[in-house]
């Protein structure tokens, strides 16, 4: 049995036999409006339901769309032999038929998109500055009344962000120190400058590698978790609840997190330095036969302690960047849960970006200053 059969009674009168089943199954892969109906204009058409057994919502909507299409082309439609239930169902669906509205997404010109991009960029900078401003204001309040500092929260973040990260930082820094020394060992042995392995590893590890590796690991662990934690609190209205209770979310959430990172970063970098040195010494010893005494003497005599101080000194700045960016992105969360995923990505990427920019600026400044 065909789903639909058209019989011409005469030139202007047609009969449309509606088939047995008008269901989701029987309409599979059908064209939305059957081709046969496309060029019927100003006809009188009878829809004969005599064979029709089942109609579901798909069938009803399809029949009604064909009907509306025909009416638009000036045809007159009547139903015959229709079951009472089917007639009720069709009129129920007919009442609820509505067109899909035009999707009015505005197409922007290239120049408009550039303009939008620049304006959004400036707005982003503005938002970030106002965030930092609010944070500094909270800091000011804390300086005036230091007993408001959330010490428990601070300790908790020291534990989760720093103490729990010591293991991974030690292992990775050890490996980095080992690799740097190993890469240079062969070359130095060739030119007979074995002992310079100490200079190379100490300078690169203390000055650059340890702070950067630590910053990368802390960004991955903490910037992402700060954004996700604060973002979730924003969406579940916990932050609004704090504000209405007169509790400053910056004092409760932001300052403890940022301070935890600022204060623990130098310690973490120091641990990374020691682990890196252990790796470097291991290679020097087994590859080039340098004894522990020689290694330490060389460090003591030839290398300025500034190398260590530079690395440790810039790490709190990285900690501040990571903490502030992580919290700032969390506060940007709005509405739905999928914004948190996007913001976490953004938070990690922009924290790393600014850490490395900052590293470059410090490197240039220190060279100019001759440190």
């Amino acid at each position: 049995m065909q789903r639909i059969q058209i019989q011409y009674l005469n030139a202007n009168n047609l009969k449309v036999l509606i088939g047995n089943d008008w269901t989701k199954e029987s309409l599979s892969n059908a064209n939305t409006i059957e081709k046969e109906f496309l060029n019927l204009v100003d006809k009188t058409i009878i829809f004969d339901f005599i064979n029709c057994l089942t109609i579901d919502s798909a069938g009803a909507v399809e029949i009604l769309w064909i009907k509306n299409h025909l009416i638009k082309d000036g045809c007159k439609i009547t139903y015959v032999n229709i079951d009472e239930n089917h007639s009720k169902l069709l009129s129920f669906y007919e009442k609820n038929l509505q067109d899909k509205p035009q999707f009015s997404k505005k197409e922007y010109l290239f120049i408009e998109r550039i303009g939008k991009w620049i304006i959004e960029g400036f707005q982003g900078v503005g938002n970030f500055l106002s965030f930092v401003g609010e944070m500094l204001f909270a800091l000011l309040k804390l300086i005036i009344s230091p007993w408001n500092f959330r010490f428990t929260a601070f300790i908790k973040h020291v534990d989760t962000s720093a103490i729990q990260a010591i293991g991974i930082i030690t292992i990775l820094s050890f490996l980095i120190g080992l690799v740097v020394a190993y890469q240079s060992a062969g070359y130095l042995a060739k030119v007979g400058a074995d002992i310079f392995i100490v200079d190379i590893s100490v300078m690169s590890v203390f000055r650059e590698l340890s702070p950067i590796i630590t910053a990368i690991l802390i960004t991955a662990r903490s910037a992402s978790s700060f954004t996700a934690e604060i973002g979730t609190m924003k969406i579940t209205e916990e932050i609004d609840a704090m504000r209405t209770m007169g509790l400053d979310p910056f004092i409760f959430l932001v300052i403890p997190r940022v301070f935890a990172l600022i204060i623990t970063m130098p310690f973490l970098v120091f641990i990374a330095d020691m682990a890196g040195m252990a790796g470097a010494y291991l290679v020097s010893h087994f590859q080039l036969g340098i004894s522990l005494n020689d290694f330490i003497d060389r460090m003591y005599l030839e290398i300025s302690v500034n190398e260590l101080y530079v690395g440790l000194g810039k790490s709190p700045i990285y900690g501040a960047i990571i903490g502030v960016v992580g919290c700032y992105r969390g506060f940007q969360a709005t509405g739905s849960t999928d914004s948190i995923g996007k913001l976490t990505t953004k938070s990690v990427v922009s924290a790393l970006f600014w850490v490395i920019i900052c590293d470059a600026i410090i490197a240039i400044a220190l060279t100019k200053l001759g440190i």
Binding site: K24, N29, A30, T32, A58, E62, K95, N96, Q98, S336
Partner: protein
């Protein structure tokens, strides 16, 4: 009347805590059936067991002639297409628009042309009382009541034989709640499905339910119509229906 759901001697335990102790009831075709009870009485647990989200320790549940005990994956899959669930907060997929949310089951389970699916989705949207303007909104841009309506439209997408509603009127204002109850009754009259509602909204109990059970002290303390319930002389039942 044919039974669409038959629950026999269900016993549920969480660890050592007994939740349901020997519960039996049945639901008929075309009925609007309520599962009532105080907070923590195990209403939602019972609902989750009916829709196969949670296991039960003993007893059996038969839905549309299939026994849920030891059900095969294939039968479970076909059964899941015959029913639809409206969760308490709509549970709309937040990354999809309203229209995409309603189209999703149709796109996944039918081979219908895209145009017809969208026409159907727009019709379902109108059936639950929403105009076309909301079609391209995301769930985060909808109010609580609208989310529930869209959730209902999505539930109706595949013309289910059974509709499960978890607290459909909670969080709605009285007028919207009344309209929602009317909508459920109207759709049931028109489309002939059976509805299982978990609720403690007294207006819903009075105006929408054909029959209900009340869970109390791990057992069913009442099974019948609203009129029978208010005329019964059980003090708990009277308090329950009044206090709500």
């Amino acid at each position: 009347m044919t039974k669409v759901i038959n629950v026999e001697n269900i016993i549920t335990k969480f660890g050592n805590t007994l939740i349901h102790d020997d519960i039996s009831f049945s639901i008929h075709k075309g009925e609007i059936f309520g599962i009532l009870g105080g907070s923590g009485a195990g209403k939602s647990t019972l609902l989750r067991q009916l829709i196969m989200l949670q296991k039960f320790q003993s007893g059996n549940i038969q839905i549309l002639g299939e026994s849920l005990r030891g059900i095969s994956h294939k039968t479970a899959h076909t059964l899941r297409q015959k029913w639809a669930v409206l969760f308490q907060f709509g549970a709309l997929y937040s990354s999809l628009t309203v229209l995409e949310n309603i189209c999703l089951p149709l796109l996944e389970y039918t081979e219908l042309p895209k145009g017809l699916i969208e026409n159907m989705a727009m019709t379902k949207l109108s059936m639950v009382g929403l105009s076309g303007e909301s079609a391209y909104l995301y769930p985060s841009e909808l109010s609580g009541g609208m989310k529930k309506r869209v959730g209902l439209a999505r539930a109706l997408a595949l013309d289910p034989e059974l509709l499960f509603l978890d607290e459909p009127t909670s969080g709605l204002d009285p007028a919207s709640a009344e309209a929602f109850d009317k909508l459920i009754v109207e759709l049931r009259d028109m489309l002939g499905f059976s509805v299982i509602i978990v609720t403690h909204d007294l207006d819903t109990i009075r105006s929408a339910l054909d029959r209900f059970i009340v869970l109390h002290n791990k057992k069913i303390c009442f099974d019948g119509t609203y009129d029978a319930a208010i005329n019964s002389d059980m003090t708990f039942l009277k308090e329950f229906l009044k206090a709500n």
